[in-house]
Amino acid sequence: MTTTHEVHTATPLRKGSTTETPAERLERVSAAAYRIRHHALNMGEVQGQGYVGQALGAADMMAVVYADQLRFRPEDPHWEARDRFLLSTGHYAIGHYAALAEAGTIPVSELETYGSDDSRLPMSGMSTYTPGMEISGGSLGHGLPIAIGMALGLRYQGSGARVYNFLSDGELDEGSTWEAAMGGHHHQLGNLTAMVDINALQADGKTDTVLRTEPVTEKWEAFGWYTQRVNGNDVGALLAAFDNAAAQAAAVGAPSVILCDTKVGRGVPLLEEREKAHFMRIEEHEWQTCREQLTAGFERKAVR
């Protein structure tokens, strides 16, 4: 076994054609984000409530990962050479399921079973239930420690695969996240990328009233990570940040983190303006309005 194997650093257009222009790429990924949001609204309606706000806020991050960056085979979720995407925020599963449906790993028709008895799509994401779900999240602060082990294990076995960990700003409260941040730097896991959804909201309220995590950028930089901070609802900015991370990815090198400032409920003005809540309540008659607002916003943007 070797540790000198190179991780894949290029960003081949895995979904688009090789002749795709940057504008076409942006359009393709934005359309994926739009569909992911639609899936999330439909799942939220089935449940009558839920983590729709988070799913909408993180949809652009999910779209960039699944429609552009991640190497995977939807028909073979255990393909050995796949990149690993670890969702440690289990309650974001609604957004992840939407992305897995968009990616073709699970059928779109299955999404309506979300959170129902005997479904493969439980409210909180678990690896033992869902194809394409690498770990069981939910107990926060677990994703990055597991990602460290996966990145070490893949590198040791000479794999060029990369590891992505999706975590939330609330998870930065957990000490284990920072144990892992030190571990990633100490072991120079250049095949590891963390993505932090900074929506500034936690279960008990705004992050800066629960446990102040800022200055977040300086913290990650101080821990030795290649750190970028972007508008997490700007697909173009996200693509550029992920391209940068991919360009400096290496078997041995600094791990990278992309800090993504997002807006809860993004894409649906009705929800963007609603008082922010971790577990958002939406009235029965409002779902159709949400979908119409989402579509109107997407079409307006597409016309521009």
Partner: protein, 330 residues
Amino acid sequence: MSAVAAPKLKTSAMIASFADPGQKTAPAPFGHALVKAAQENDKIVGLTADLGKYTDMHIFAQAFPERFFQMGMAEQLLFGAAAGLAETGLVPFASTYSVFAARRAYDFLCLDAAEPNLNVNIVGGLPGLTTGYGPSHQATEDMAIFRGMPNLTIVDPCDSTDIEQAVPQLAASEGPTYLRLLRGNVPTVLDEYGYTFELGKAKVLRGGNDVVFVSSGLMTMRALQAAKALAEHNVDVAVVHTPTIKPFDAATVLAEINTDRLAVTLENHSVTGGLFETVASAVVTAGIGRRVVPVALPDAFLDAGALPTLHDRYGLTVQKIVAKVLSELK
């Protein structure tokens, strides 16, 4: 006033030896066994949380530096990362002290390793009362904590023989395991009994007509010594060694308990939630109306001090076992 007070014993090093003077021992049996297993299985890797030298993991680290990962004094990272390594198909052995594995990293072991049933092997030093450093280092309730974790196999070895034979079996078994590590110069005891370690099996080490000891861990060594001492009192004692605490070999143990002999459990662990309660629940479940007498540590935070003093104070010495049995037989 007494004429001359005996000098007080000293606590000595953190890891005090429990080997008797002149007893046959083997150096670092876990470390050497892991190296041997790793020579045959290239998936085996080792990790520790700044306690490599104190868990005999340093032997493996020296033999396979590229397969050893130092995670620093960060136990949540240690076991989360061990699960991540297992997710990529490797077979990690991750060592720290039992107190830190059981108390500090439980959530990570439970959800990251046990729920997905990964082959993560936890190696816990200083189980029960094997240090005089007090409750911060004495894992007197580790089995009680771990027994509640689904999928987890728990092994409480007696000696170097047990450890040497257990390591490859732990690596070969599916799912997570917890080994109550004995490290340093570990007594070699069971080689005299025609014994082999089999994961999940209890073994009758000697027969006896009056009393049956059911023991695990280093208390099997004491049980065998106490059986010899009791023979001098014309008490005939059988000893059943049950190194696998979970899953428990109830069939073998119940067959031995379901007789007219006095049944005694012996463990280097709190009387709460360890071997005694494992046996008791098996006895009750089977509907066997037998009394079982525990030799175990009290449900209390234990004193600091010298190990011989503490083993005597809490009833783990051969002398105390003999006295307890004789009083039960009166």
